[in-house]
Structure formats: structure tokens, C-alpha cells
Symmetry: C2
Subunit: 464 residues, 2 copies
């Protein structure tokens, strides 16, 4: 047995009780909202076949997949040549399974495997950890939770509108008020490419303008030119970065610029539809304003999102006035299950970043008191006699559903009070000889530091 100081792998975390309870609060708000909108939970295994994951995240992604060594004599089926061909080749010989990298590919895999049993449209949510062999840094972990909701098997824009509604509901429920839901459409981006004379080049344009926040307009110009977009096109593009006015005003300007392109038309029609749904649903995403006076839902033609599989509306959500990247994002894809041979299943989905939401809630001190569940009352143990008296009291409290503990041994009072303190237990019950004689126990409110003499019945009605 190793006696060395134990540690955990870099980029991973233990979550102690106080943190788990707060994370569960966030998960429960998200879960309740998903379910209110008709999404049902799915759970897939941590391990997937390596072949299911490989090739879905680009070359760079493939490198970041954690592979699981075959059990037993994994070298049995290899030969010298396998080893001489280097680690990439050898990997395919000694590993068959890998840890899930995201929740989207396992979802697509599940849909394809169960296509005959699933009723479409299929609305599922999934809240599970994923693993990436990324270099750990502040806010980036090798194990982290994703919270995804997707619906596949319908192209109704009601789904997009409901995603806006769900984001809005989750964030307002946890107490956020100053946030922006950015929306754009791949058709708008394709229409722009066509309108500036670079039809079909929206891929390069997206990659470049996705960096607008980070490298600024000059940086984007440089990158666009490097990617072979003409100077004339870039010059035509730039005014679009700073389109001003209400969403309606921007939509009208876009109508003028892109109205002639088929892709632009498609994007505009979809966006108008989303707006129509939200307005009919009387959504506060349309009426609420953030602190800078802009509407909560904002059309942003510079929103591109990296993932290549998006084909329709795309979303990204930022909390304003905190230094934090986007906390949610998603979009429509027309062919997610195509990677496993099932064509023509359109879907739309989005994801919450729980670690970032946690940090924002903590920074803004929005965790509710009620998210600190735990023991409500600790009964102090003085001696065997007080223990004997306390046991039925303990049982009565628990019978009433009150989480409670009897300190398990007659330790020093200071130690027992310290225990209550450390565990944030709000009430302590003290039972000395006087209390046993009178039947009135000392109930101490730990926050106020006040004590009162009360019967067990009174304690129960106070704590329930």
C-alpha cells in the first residue's frame, strides 16, 4: 500500500458538501425548466466506443479524447510493427473505448440506435460530466458538467422560441436580471457573404468575425484578408459590425442588404418567425431591458459560433458586467445524426455552462439561503443520562422530517458547538439535568446567539 500523499489528477475537482448543495440548486432550476417545456432526461454511459467519438470533433478534438486502455493483456494482439508506427497507430490497437467528450454525439448515437422506438419530435435533456484532455487553466477543467437540451425531428421555429424562453426562465429564476441573449442565423451569415461578393465563403468569415470580441475590428480585417477575402468585401462587411437600433430596425436594414440572396431570405424569415412566437408567448425576453437599456434578446449579425454543424438559428448568452464568457449557447443543425447514417433529422439544441453560472451566482451573491440544506438541529450530548433522554427527542424530530443529529459522544461543549458552527447547523438543543426535570429544553439559535426554553412540541413547530 502506498503511503505517499494522495492527490487528484490535474484539472479535476472534489466537490465538498457546501459546493455540491449549491451545484444541485443550479441543476434543479435547469431540470425543472427543461421538464416544464416537455424535455425528458436521458443518461448515456461515461464510456463510448472510440469509433463513435473519433472524427466528430476535428483533429484537435480527437487529440483531447481520453482513451481507455483495453483490459487484460492489451499487447496480445499487437506486433513490433504496431509499436514502431508510433503512438497514434498504437492507440487504435490498444484502446477501444473512450470517455465522452460532449453530450451531443452520444445523443445522436442514442437517437440512431433507438430510431425505431423513439417518438419524434424527441425532446431530451442530459446533465452529465464530460472529459477533455485540455491543458487545465483558470475556469477550464478536464472533467466538467454539461447541461444540454435538444429536440430532433421537427423544424418548427417554435423550438427556437422556446429555447429563448428556457434560457430566460433559468436565468431569471436564479436571480439574474442583466443578461443578453444574442441570436443570429447561419442564413444571415451566408447571405452576407453573398452580398459582399464572397458567396460560399461564410465559413472563413465566421471563423474570423467570431474573434471580434477578442482581437477587435483590425485583427478581424487582417485575418479575413489572410483567409483570402477580398479587401473590397471586407470593407463592405465592416459596417455590419456596428448595426445600430432596435432589433426591428436591424432586421429592416438586413432586409435591404440581404433581401436578394436566398440564404439571407431564409435567415430573415426564420428570425421573423422566432420573434412572432415570442411575441405571442408574451415573452419577457422581448420586453425586458438589460442595464445598458438594450433589449434582453438581441439580434447580433457578428455572432458566428465555431461549430460547423449549425445550419439555422444560433444563440449565445452573456451575463453583463461580470468578466465571464458566454454561459449558454446552441443552435439548429440539419444533419446531426447523419454522422451515423441517419439522414434528414433536423434538430435544435443548447447547453448551459454550469461552472460559469456557479461563478456568476457566487460573484453576485445570488445563492439563496435555502440552497444551504443540511442538518437543522444538533442535540448536544453531555453524558449518558442526557443521551438517554435525547434519543426519543431525536427520533421525534426526524419523524417530523426535520434533519437532525445527536452528537455521537459526550465531547467537550466547545467541540460540539464548533461542529454545529462548521456544519452551518442553525439550531442547537441543550439538555442538562434542569431541562430533563422540567421538560423544557434549551433551543439555541446559532445565528442570533439567542436561547429559549421550549418543549419538544414547540421545537418541532419552530423548526418545521
Amino acid at each position: 500500500m502506498s503511503k505517499e500523499k494522495p492527490s487528484i489528477p490535474k484539472g479535476t475537482r472534489d466537490f465538498g458538501p457546501a459546493v455540491v448543495v449549491r451545484r444541485n440548486y443550479i441543476f434543479s432550476v435547469i431540470r425543472r425548466t427543461f421538464e416544464k417545456f416537455g424535455y425528458l432526461p436521458l443518461e448515456t454511459p461515461a464510456m463510448e466506443q472510440l469509433s463513435v467519438l473519433t472524427g466528430k470533433y476535428g483533429d484537435e478534438g480527437d487529440q483531447l479524447i481520453f482513451k481507455i486502455l483495453n483490459s487484460g493483456d492489451f499487447l496480445a494482439k499487437t506486433n513490433h510493427s504496431d509499436i514502431e508506427q508510433g503512438h497514434k497507430h498504437l492507440t487504435s490497437k490498444i484502446t477501444e473505448k473512450a470517455l465522452r467528450y460532449d453530450l451531443t454525439v452520444p445523443f445522436a448515437r442514442y437517437v440512431v440506435m433507438n430510431r425505431n422506438d423513439i417518438t419524434f419530435p424527441f425532446k431530451r435533456y442530459q446533465i452529465q460530466p464530460v472529459w477533455r484532455a485540455d491543458r487545465p487553466q483558470k475556469g477550464r477543467y478536464r472533467e466538467f458538467y454539461q447541461c444540454d437540451a435538444d429536440v430532433v425531428g421537427t423544424d418548427s421555429l417554435l423550438c427556437e422560441a422556446e429555447i429563448v424562453q428556457m434560457v430566460n426562465e433559468v436565468l431569471t429564476t436564479i436571480g439574474l436580471t442583466d443578461f443578453t441573449i444574442k441570436i443570429n442565423h447561419r442564413g444571415i451569415l451566408a447571405g452576407i457573404a453573398e452580398a459582399i461578393g464572397e458567396k460560399g465563403r461564410e465559413g472563413d468569415i465566421c471563423v474570423a468575425i467570431d474573434k471580434l470580441d477578442k482581437i477587435g475590428q483590425e485583427g478581424v480585417r487582417k485575418e479575413l484578408l489572410e483567409r483570402g477575402i477580398s479587401e473590397e468585401a471586407v470593407t463592405k462587411l465592416e459596417p455590419l459590425y456596428t448595426l445600430e437600433g432596435s432589433n426591428k430596425a436591424i432586421l429592416e436594414q438586413l432586409q435591404t442588404i440581404l433581401g436578394e440572396t436566398a440564404e439571407g431570405q431564409r435567415g430573415l424569415k426564420d428570425l421573423y418567425d422566432v420573434w412572432r412566437y415570442l411575441s405571442r408567448l408574451n415573452s419577457s425576453a422581448l420586453t425586458a431591458q438589460n442595464e445598458s437599456g438594450n433589449p434582453r434578446l438581441m439580434l447580433d449579425v457578428t455572432l458566428a459560433r465555431g461549430l460547423s454543424y449549425y445550419t439555422g438559428c444560433i444563440f449565445e448568452v452573456k451575463v453583463n458586467n461580470v468578466s465571464m464568457g458566454s454561459i449558454s449557447g446552441g443552435g439548429r443543425y440539419d444533419n446531426l445524426t447523419g454522422m451515423f447514417g441517419l439522414q434528414g433529422v433536423s434538430g435544435v439544441g443548447f447547453s448551459f455552462g454550469v461552472d460559469r453560472i456557479y461563478d456568476v451566482i457566487e460573484e453576485l451573491q445570488l445563492f439563496p439561503e435555502s440552497s444551504q440544506v443540511g442538518t437543522k438541529a444538533l442535540i448536544v450530548q453531555f453524558d449518558k443520562e442526557s443521551e438517554e433522554y435525547a434519543l426519543p427527542v431525536l427520533q421525534r424530530l426526524r419523524d417530523e422530517g426535520i434533519a437532525s443529529e445527536l452528537y455521537p459522544e459526550p465531547a467537550k461543549l466547545k467541540k460540539q458547538m464548533g461542529y454545529a458552527d462548521q456544519k452551518n447547523i442553525p439550531y442547537v438543543i441543550l439538555i442538562g439535568s434542569e431541562e430533563m426535570a422540567s421538560g423544557k429544553l434549551k433551543l439555541r439559535n446559532m445565528e442570533l446567539g439567542e436561547q429559549q426554553d421550549v418543549t419538544v412540541d414547540e421545537i418541532i413547530s419552530l423548526l418545521k
Copy 2:
């Protein structure tokens, strides 16, 4: 991109919505009970350092640990000799991390790493998956959940009594009535070994009598003799397999047999203490009887439990009249953290087997209706006009907290009703031109097949 038919690794499972919801019901009963007794949640990473896990589960266990291949060029630091020495040696060169094999070792690792911040006694529960490269078979998976509760830093027998209470509460809450909580003590087993003239041989005796259920008295006799226990000792031992009478009667018989041995004394004293606590707590584990007329809590001197680290009370729980192994078990250990160099931390813990509990509940049809959460009402969509009318209705239902959906497109009625059916949605709302004119919508109870014409307000009060 692979177009092959996708699959999941053998021994792993996808959990679709209906199953997740039922599993979550079990988890929530367990979680609520743990918290009522003052246990708080801990979560540890799926990956642990390989060195933390190796050597903790015996040679056989080590083989069953899933190892994670180092990322990048994992061969860079190896040479020809590493490869020629075979897979066991090479494993240590190309893997540093592994998947958690149980929740006990990560818990011990957490306690040691955080010893200075933890207030003892430390009561934690942990509900997370574990992974084992076992050969999959019926009821045995390579990924499965464990639900553990442990308290470390006290040797009070109140903790043992509370474990009996928690098992009792969880199982009765999910509706089980005919189950047996078996209890024994390592001191009793050591005392027996001494009393039959084989002092110190309780390890071999435990391994053998642990198989009593499987191989019968003759099989155990053969194994005991093979393990070098004398024939005379085995003959003395056998009457103990069939001790009869109440727990009290058995304790009294044991007092006669083991009273002279120090270990036997220790075991008896602890068991008497557990009984004293339970009786003072008025526990139904003492008073309730199972269908065969035996008490729910039964002292069973043949209960041995395999794990070598137990030193005091041991537990095992079986549901009667179903063909299923034990659904819960645990015990006291005096030196769990010793494996990481922290001595003298006594603790006691137990674990629920969720997969087995699930199967039992399903077999006995004890899943409550309320465990089938999901969409409460589906609004059928006939055409754009009914959609327009339906949207504010949908929003009102959701504002009232009623999980509801509008079918996202005007599909055939049969298809939409099939969707409600498949998803077990109990109510369907139909809005035709007549309904729009009168404001009275058709509410269909899917189970009864009955329809009524009601206002939105009436729907809300019916569904809430």
C-alpha cells in the same frame, strides 16, 4: 466519418427518460434519508491517480480497474525494454489515471487530503457511478451507481444504530415490508475462532462461512478443512450455523459460548449497545416482523462479508421472497485512512445497490405514479390559426408551473395523439374553431378517454 452502425461498450447502458425518472425517484428517497440523519453530499472525480487505486482491492481488483491512456505521445517516455517486459509493466509507463472502482477509496483519499479542513465526526454520502472491467452478465455491469454513506472520526455505536434506521427508512419509504437486516460483528467471529480452538484464524473461517448460502454446510466443511481448520474445530463450529430463537436468546447463547474470549466480549458489548440505541429510538427495525415471522433486524453469526477492512459491526440486507442478492451492506472499519498514512480514524459506512433495488421495486410493482413525471398537457396543433390561439394558453399553463407542450407543427391528429400516448402525457387539449369561438377548450383525459369542454382557468385548476 464512420457510417457503421453505432453501439455502446458491453456492460454499459443508456437510460431513457422513463428509466431515469424511476432511478431518480430511488436516489431522491436515499438522499432525503441520508440528509435527515445529518449526512452531506460529496462528489469526487471519475478519474483518480492510478497510484491512489492500485493495491487497494487485491490483485484481482487491480486487474478490473479501467486505466486511462496518457494523452499525447504516451510512448515518448518508454523504451524497448518497457515493451518487452509485457503489458503489466508497460501499463505503469503509459497510464497515470484510472476510473474510480468504488466510492470508499476516493472517500478515504478525500478525508486524508482535507484532514485539516474537515470537522470530525465527518458524515458524508456519495451517489456516483463506478467502473469495473468485470465480465458483464445478468445484473452485473461495467458502469453502475453506488450510494454510500460513511461517518468517520467517532467510534460511537449510535452510528451503527442509525445505519439500521436509515436502511429501514429507505426501504419502508419505497414500500418494502418483507426484508431482513442481518447484523454481526467481527469480534463475534474472532471470539468463535478462539472458542473452537482456532484463535486468529477468523479470516479463513469468514471466507468459508461467507459461502454458506451458496455451497451449503458440507461445502463449507470441506473448505474449512482445506484451509487447515481442524476437524474438531469445524464440528464445534457447525451448531452455530443454526442458532435458534430471538435475538435476545441468541445473544445469551453467545454469551455462554464466547464470554471468555476478549474479542467475543467486545462484539457482544457492541451489539448490546446497538440494541440499546435502537430500542431507545423506538425503532421499527426491532419490532417489525417479516413474513416468516422473524424480526426485521436479525443477528446472524454466519454473516461474514468479504472485505478485509471491517473490524466491528457488519451489516447485510436482503429482500425476502425475491430472487436477488443483498441490496445493501456495510460495516465498521478502524483504519480506512491508514492506506494513505492517516492512522486512528475509525468509521462506519454502508452502501445501497441501486440496480438491484430498481429490479426489486419493478418486480413488486412499487413504483409510485408520481415517479412518472413529465409533460402534463399537450396542446394539439391543427393549423396556424389554432397555433396562434394556443400560444398564450401554453404560456399561462407554464406560468402556473404546469409542464406542457404545444405540438410544434400541424401534423395529423393521429400522429399528435400517438405522441401524447408514447410520452404518457395524461391530458390533451384540442382547440378547433368552435373552441376558439366559445373560449371553452376540449380537455381530453387520456387514461379515461373522456373529454370535457372547459375554460383555461378550469384547466389550470384541474391540472395543478
